[in-house]
């Protein structure tokens, strides 16, 4: 009885899965170790090797080193390098003195490889893309007589190389200081697309290899104070981004409307940001404490403007309104929380979260040249850049009451207010109520339920606001009232429209025996944009996940897991033209297209994924360790359409897109001697997909878009690695 009583009174303890690696002396008893060997990848790929550096067939060098010395009482050091033979290599060196001083330097390289099965006729150095000298232009891609002969493969690879250094020092019992400096280069080839056009309905587009040459320098300095009752951290962060290229130029492959026409795409501009931040906690009393985190940042960008057009035939009558943007975005945030324990079993939290982004920039008119054409439009077609001032504030209360059987009831109310400038909705207000209940009736079983109800109300939808903000008064005055809009007046942009949100979560944890841990998680969420006619009207998530872990001893651990995720949405639209057909308010037949409900259409989208996996860590004998991991992912995406009567608005359902991935990883380590082990690694990777955006799309399949003609990935990769590990004490 006493045991039962003690068990009932014991505090709640989370049911955790043991994920630590095998507790072998090989991992704990040695000060250093070096691993050297070779790996072999069976084929070129870009899905298996997307991030791990194993994207090319052939042999790679395995080189890892870890060495540390904590034997000195005054100082210590630690050095490590890994993946020396790959583009994902990284390393760091740390030296410190007790807890007084810590200095760190290091490097980190990353690579991202994307679908490189495509081809392009564009060549050239830097950011000027040229076509072969014998290129035959045409009005559509099928007219490009030299296309086939001009295509060549290119790598879509981006490398990030970062150098970093940091220092942390204890100034006194209460004060510490730390500082970090990093320099990163991101280089390689990405891709984009650009179009030559005067009229949006007749663009001549091409996929373009895009050189990337970014440099980012970041520095921060922090001062930390703590006396147990008041802990505070003040920090200054500076980030400077520099892009070596400011424009991507490409030769127009189409039959030129204009002599020697070329396109010019503005690339990411240089920018920098300086931020000050203060974070802290003040313990007012054992039953009361206050947390705060405030920041103010200024991001600046003043890169010289490019010309309106790179087209040598372009005629500029109205110059740019200024030489550079001279823009600033000022972002302020404040998060604060007051925690109280008025009763032994009751906690109360009052919280506030605020964020403001002030877009502090000059507003000017731009008579921009459409798609690198030849002439500026008439003055009435001037467009204006607009400010997007944004402020959000959330405040609320949360109460937590602890009850018998390690149970806890939690109720939270939050009110969120968002104000936006120059958008269709000026203000949204949302009430959110969350109720959660957690119980651990026995030490080996936990249940948690959480329900959320949110109701967001949007102020009047100003469907004409964007028109007034972007365009010139001459054009506005010349446009009939019923056509003064860009997006259809029935549209509600979902991120600022009325919404009822319901969400439920269920988490179960069970330890049926000492060695087993079972988990089940369920999440269901329903977003109903209940006042929306056109736009996203409905979104629904359903997610089930389970895992079972078995840890009978320090020598073996195994886990199996699986999950199913589903996301459904319903999007409504209305197909319409401009001119007289753009009158969205006529109610008597014959209805213009914009007010004709028979021209409505609906897309029901569904994304599903199934994930299954298992892993095993097994210390077979004193001299042999085995590890194995298998994962399987299967996804399916569907888009089905519904139409409402108009003969020319009857879209067909799109075919399902399926992706399929198997990945098996195994390794065995044989500890031949005290100081020497032999390790074998094996990986099998299988991936395939049938995305209709790529399926059967050759470079010239689309009349007005010259693509890369990339294929869907279909990979079967084997990787074998053999290495020796030498250790020392």
């Amino acid at each position: 009885a006493q045991t039962e009583e003690a068990e009932a009174e014991s505090p709640y303890a989370p049911l955790l899965v043991e994920t630590r690696p095998l507790n072998t002396r090989w991992q704990t008893d040695y000060a250093g170790g070096v691993q050297l060997g070779a790996g072999y990848t069976s084929d070129d790929n870009y899905m298996f090797g997307q991030y791990n550096g194993l994207y090319e067939s052939g042999t790679t060098f395995i080189g890892n080193l870890r060495w540390q010395d904590f034997s000195e009482s005054e100082s210590y050091w630690r050095a490590s390098v890994s993946d020396l033979g790959l583009d994902t290599r990284e390393g760091e060196l740390i030296w410190g003195r007790s807890d007084n001083l810590r200095v760190q330097v290091g490097f980190d390289s990353q690579i991202q490889v994307r679908n490189n099965s495509g081809e392009t006729p564009f060549g050239g150095s830097d950011s000027a893309l040229k076509l072969p000298s014998d290129w035959e232009t045409g009005s559509t891609t099928s007219d490009f007589g030299q296309l086939e002969a001009s295509l060549y493969r290119f790598d879509r690879e981006l490398e990030r190389d970062t150098l970093f250094a940091g220092v942390e020092a204890k100034l006194s019992e209460n004060w510490r200081v730390d500082s970090n400096l990093s320099y990163e280069e991101k280089q390689g080839t990405s891709d984009t697309a650009g179009a030559m056009y005067v009229d949006a309905s007749a663009g001549d587009a091409a996929f373009l290899p895009m050189p990337v040459d970014y440099r980012t320098t970041e520095f921060d300095l922090g001062l930390i104070y703590g006396n147990g009752r008041l802990n505070m951290e003040g920090r200054l962060d500076y980030s400077d981004f520099e892009n070596k290229d400011d424009i991507l130029l490409w030769q127009n492959p189409y039959r030129s409307r204009y002599p020697d026409s070329a396109g010019g795409m503005g690339l990411a501009p240089d920018n920098d940001q300086l931020r000050g931040r203060i974070t802290g906690q003040y313990v007012i009393a054992p039953t009361a404490r206050f947390q705060f985190d405030g920041s103010y940042a200024v991001a600046s960008q003043d890169q010289d403007y490019l010309d309106y057009s790179v087209n040598p035939a372009a005629s500029i009558t109205e110059p740019l309104p200024r030489d550079s943007f001279d823009g600033e975005a000022q972002t302020g945030t404040l998060n604060a929380k007051l925690w109280l324990r008025p009763l032994k079993k009751l906690d109360v939290e009052a919280f506030y979260k605020g964020r403001e982004r002030d877009y502090d920039n000059p507003r000017d008119g731009y008579r921009y040249i459409r798609g690198d054409g030849v002439s500026q439009p008439r003055e009435a077609l001037t467009v204006y850049n607009t400010s997007h001032h944004f402020i959000s504030q959330t405040m609320g209360l949360e109460a937590t009451y602890r009850m018998p059987k390690r149970s806890r009831l939690q109720v939270e109310y939050a009110y969120e207010n968002i104000e936006r400038e120059n958008t269709a909705v000026e203000e949204t207000k949302e009430d959110r109520v969350t109720v959660g209940y957690r119980i651990q009736p026995t030490p080996g079983f936990t249940t948690r339920i959480e329900l959320l109800y949110g109701n967001r109300n949007a102020s009047t939808y100003h469907w004409d606001q964007r028109y007034y903000a972007l365009l010139d008064t001459q054009l506005i005055n010349a446009t009939p009232d019923n056509q003064r809009y860009i997006n259809h007046p029935e549209l509600s942009q979902y991120y600022m429209s009325n919404r009822v949100q319901e969400r439920g979560k269920l988490d179960l944890g069970w330890l049926p025996t000492e060695h087993w841990n079972l988990n089940f998680n369920l999440l269901v969420q329903n977003d109903d944009y209940d006042k929306t006619y056109t736009g996203l009207r409905y979104a629904y998530w359903e997610r089930y996940h389970f895992s079972a872990s078995y840890n009978p001893s320090a020598e073996i651990s195994a886990t199996v897991y699986g999950g199913f995720d589903q996301f459904d949405s319903e999007l409504m639209g209305r197909s319409f033209r401009g001119g007289n057909e753009k009158n969205a308010f006529e109610i008597y037949p014959p209805l213009p297209q914009a007010s004709d409900p028979s021209r409505d259409w609906r897309t029901d989208s569904s994304d599903e994924s199934v994930t299954v996996g298992a892993n095993l860590n097994w210390k077979l004998t004193d001299k042999l360790d085995l590890e194995a991991d298998y994962s399987f992912v299967d996804t399916q995406s569907d888009q089905k359409f519904r139409s409402y009567g108009a003969a020319d608005v009857s879209p067909e359902n799109l075919p399902s897109i399926e992706t399929n991935m198997h990945h098996f990883v195994a390794s065995g380590t044989w500890h031949m001697r005290e100081d020497l082990s032999l390790k074998m690694d094996y990986q099998y990777y299988r991936y395939s997909s049938d995305d209709w955006a790529l399926q059967g799309v050759q470079a010239d399949t689309i009349d007005k878009v010259l693509t890369f003609g990339a294929r869907n990935p279909n990979e079967k990769i084997h990787y074998v690695g053999v290495s020796a590990i030498y250790r020392w004490r």
Partner: protein, 275 residues
């Protein structure tokens, strides 16, 4: 000096060859606490006089299991004595993990030469053993390199508590994204306002079935907010595939065949995000 004569008697019983292999601590970052030797033990476990006298019957003052478990606040206080002021941990009290009664030792192994939770790959495995939805997402076709250990959960999230939603390191979600994607920070002449407001309007950070971590496929994703006259308002179905009309607004990069500057443009002719 692990067996110094004038020290507590921890190491008299906890020998290097005993069942509980605690001696690895002397080769770790914690091996020289209080000058090393048995004083290292008492630095975290307390002076533990009762345990020193009758070790099999009395627990140490602060015990982290498996045989004896001190109260979670006591366990954490032992670690926070030194670590609370080392940055990023001052909001532990009241954090999500603290409210779940997690203790430092649930994730950290202070005796190991190299704490598994300081290793990106092993730490990630620890995180997803509870955060199972994220384990599934990070294996989807489009994802961050979390499984490869090149992006750690802790690059974005602070497991020791933060005042930002989802325990993010940075003050907003967008700032978290800009810490690696500075080229999208702007400000730009022509901004795409949902981009500056919330990256998650269009992207799922942990993984997605759609390319580029998108929440949905284009052109439907774009048409959720864009319904202008002519081509933006038209539905694009199977008739636009290569077996049909090979529609330029559906296949390839769909809307981004022309409007490729979706994160904003600084080109004077970039009002339509095509330059």
């Amino acid at each position: 000096n692990a067996l110094g004569a004038d020290e507590p008697g921890c190491l008299d019983c906890h020998t290097a060859d005993s069942d509980s292999p605690v001696h690895a601590v002397f080769s770790s970052a914690h091996g020289n606490l209080n000058g090393g030797g048995a004083a290292t033990c008492t630095a975290c476990h307390g002076t533990s006089e009762a345990h020193d006298r009758r070790g099999r019957r009395n627990p140490p003052d602060v015990s982290f299991g498996p045989k004896w478990l001190s109260d979670s606040a006591e366990q954490n206080a032992s670690c926070l004595n030194c670590h609370e002021k080392t940055g990023g941990k001052m909001l532990w009290l009241g954090s999500e993990h603290e409210q779940e009664n997690l203790v430092c030792a649930d994730c950290h192994n202070s005796h190991a030469q190299r704490d598994p939770s300081m290793d990106k790959v092993l730490a990630g495995e620890q995180c997803v053993s509870c955060h199972t939805r994220q384990r599934a997402e990070m294996r989807l076709p489009s994802r961050h390199p979390i499984a490869e250990g090149k992006t750690a959960c802790t690059d974005c999230h602070n497991p020791h508590g933060s005042a930002t939603d989802a325990d993010l390191h940075q003050v907003t979600l967008n700032d978290n994204c800009y810490s690696c994607h500075q080229e999208k920070r702007g400000p730009m002449l022509w901004e795409h306002e949902p981009v500056t407001e919330d990256c998650s309007t269009c992207h799922r950070p942990h993984g997605s079935v759609n390319d580029r971590l998108l929440t949905a496929r284009g052109p439907a994703l774009c048409q959720g907010c864009h319904s202008a006259a002519f081509h933006p308002s038209v539905p694009y179905g199977g008739e636009g595939l290569p077996s049909g009309s090979s529609n330029q607004n559906l296949i390839g990069k769909n809307c981004m065949n022309c409007h490729s500057q979706v994160h904003g443009s600084n080109h004077p002719s970039g009002a339509r995000l095509t330059r």
